[in-house]
């Protein structure tokens, strides 16, 4: 009797834990875009959440067409993902060219306002071009048979989300640490003028940063949409704010920080929802942020930036 309740308690805990990890991975994927952009041009890209939403919408359209043409299974998932990533990258690239590039030397708050404007614009653009209702999103990730033994703990979608996140993180770290592009990006982030002097094409690096960030957001968008099962034009806003919270939590500008922040945020939300109350889910997220920033003003693993006099 006692052992049964005990095992139930443990199971519940594991369920919440995996739910939190899944959610955290999605936050981490979006947070990476924020953190990379912030690292390179010190801008809070408020429209990043909208890129994520556009990714989800494009995947919905592609998968809808393919399903009607009779395709099924993983081929739909991969095509939808690919097209979504391509288009989101294109949107991210164009967004930077229109709304941020002309403002490179403007006062600090101007790009932020421009970003907020872009976010409002893109939301309404998708609402007018598509619909303002919630759209059902097909479950693109199947429940794998080999998981049937443990499917009370972890399902196919969760597993795919976790694995994708790990793969993406590792390849991103390799890209940034070891390749030429990565080195050039880091150089641009550290000192633009100096990077320019040693022959780095800064505009190209900034574009690449936006493209990579948007691609990650699209991956997150497709994964979470097929997990949750519905999307609308407004999903980008709250996901964007949460992901930004995650990026700040970990220490903005740091890649590892974004991942850590995302996971901490996801787990906190999951446990708070499971053990306390689901009404105050977002309150817990922001309260956590305030608490951590009071103790560590530059985030969990953010560098302490000494002020120059």
């Amino acid at each position: 009797m006692l052992s049964e309740t005990f095992s139930e308690t443990v199971l519940y805990f594991v369920e919440l834990f995996i739910g939190g990890l899944t959610r955290g991975s999605i936050y981490a994927l979006i947070a990476l875009g924020y953190t990379m952009v912030y690292g390179i041009i010190e801008l809070i890209n408020f429209a990043h959440g909208e890129i994520y939403m556009i990714g989800a919408f494009i995947a919905l359209i592609v998968s809808g067409i393919m399903t009607m043409l009779g395709y099924a299974g993983l081929s739909v998932f991969f095509t939808a993902m690919l097209v979504a990533v391509l288009y989101s990258s294109a949107y991210g690239y164009t967004l930077e060219k229109i709304a941020y590039k002309p403002l490179r030397n403007a006062p600090r708050l101007s790009p932020l306002i421009s970003a907020i404007g872009m976010s409002i614009f893109l939301q309404n653009y998708v609402m007018l071009a598509q619909t303002s209702d919630f759209m059902p999103f097909p479950p693109l990730i199947p429940d794998f048979e080999c998981l049937s033994l443990i499917d009370y703990m972890i399902g196919g979608p969760e597993l795919v989300i976790l694995i994708t996140t790990v793969v993406v993180m590792v390849s991103l770290s390799i890209l940034i640490k070891f390749t030429r592009i990565g080195k050039a990006m880091r150089a641009t982030a550290q000192d633009k003028t100096m990077a320019m002097l040693v022959g780095v094409d800064i505009n190209r690096m900034i574009s690449i940063t936006f493209i990579i960030g948007s691609a990650l957001a699209a991956i997150a968008g497709v994964l979470i949409a097929s997990h949750v099962g519905q999307i609308n034009f407004f999903i980008g806003f709250i996901a964007g704010i949460k992901a930004f919270t995650a990026a700040v939590l970990g220490g903005i500008g740091s890649i590892a920080g974004a991942v850590l922040g995302g996971l901490v945020l996801g787990l906190t939300e999951s446990f708070a929802t499971g053990y306390v109350s689901s009404d105050y889910e977002d309150v817990f997220a922001f309260a956590l942020l305030v608490l951590i920033l009071i103790v560590r003003p530059s985030g969990l693993i953010g560098r302490k930036i000494s002020q120059k006099v």
Binding site: V62, G64, Y87, S114, G117, A129, L289
Partner: protein, 402 residues
Amino acid sequence: MGSTFENIQSSFWIAIWFVFLTFPLMVIKVNTIDQIIEWRFQNMIWVGLSIFFLSFAWRKLMQIKEAGKKDRKFHLFLLQRVNIKQKYYSQIVFIVILLGVGFPYIVSAYQINIITTAMIYVVLGLGLNIVVGLAGLLDLGYVAFYAVGAYAYALLNYHFQINFWFALPICGLLSAIFGVLLGFPVLRLRGDYLAIVTLGFGEIIRLILENWNAFSFGPSGIANIPRPPLAGLESNIQTASIGMYYLMVFMVLFTIFMVNRLQNSRIGRAWLALREDEIACQAMGIDRTKTKLLAFALGATWAGLMGAFFAAKTTFINPACFTFLESAIILSIVVLGGMGSILGVILAAFILILLPEYLRAFSEYRMLIFGASMVLMMVFRPQGLISHVSKHYQIPGKKDET
């Protein structure tokens, strides 16, 4: 500067790029329930054509902006020149006052209501201007203090039947206390961290109001909030809105007076100094925390007062009135107007609030246009409508270089 042919060519490619970009969202519409795909190819032509012509306008505006950088005189916007010369100042002020007083007798009650709302935003913008424009603290959760003020009046009135005039100072004070409470732990954070924490604070307040049913009546909000008692004017809706209008005119004038005095006071100079350089400021013996907290508390006070006015004006509030979009709009007013410039903030508040109101004819597209104009404004005039001209001493015998 390329030839016409080159321009046409590049515009053509830009148009092609945008057609590609908008293709899935604008052209295809999938109905997953009925299994129908709707193809809207006419949209492709619209996008292509409009982008083709817009890119010409964009290029032209960019050229003007570049030319403006070289020629500093060009920078001075018409109104700013007035601001500097102060020659026409008294005439303009006179006309504005005349219009302000006579306004309710010319137009309908609907117009009065819109203008009253715009004036609430003028005061909110001026309040946030203290925090963002003068002290340089990026606050994305300003709406939280607005909500505190509105709910304070509504609840005080609901539970204790406290009159608007007695509740007003309590609302301001309560918001100031909230400002200090939030400010105390977070003011040592750097700019962008401060931004996200204040944003989080705004969301926390809204979510608590939404979920704590016993305290705030949840999402359904509070209705039948009485209007401010004004010698019997409040009994009739028509006269009540006129009364509200004059109250707001008075509040706007009062706020302008206060902010103007603050700006040139010892504390105002401390804020400006803090915004420019914190370390130098501390070296000069200015208490950083105290100065920042004061800015935060004062900004919050104005928001709290306006919250009470808003509740009394609409007679109904719910948590949906206090979303992040409100904070974004108030912040846009400050930045669009030109940080720290009072005239700019007033102008921007009227533009930003009246633009969506009068665009109601295209109600579907108004937020789209609103977002786009925010971007365009920032791209082509990042310093705001009227940039703040700081006072400077002129050495006698030397030419003025502004």
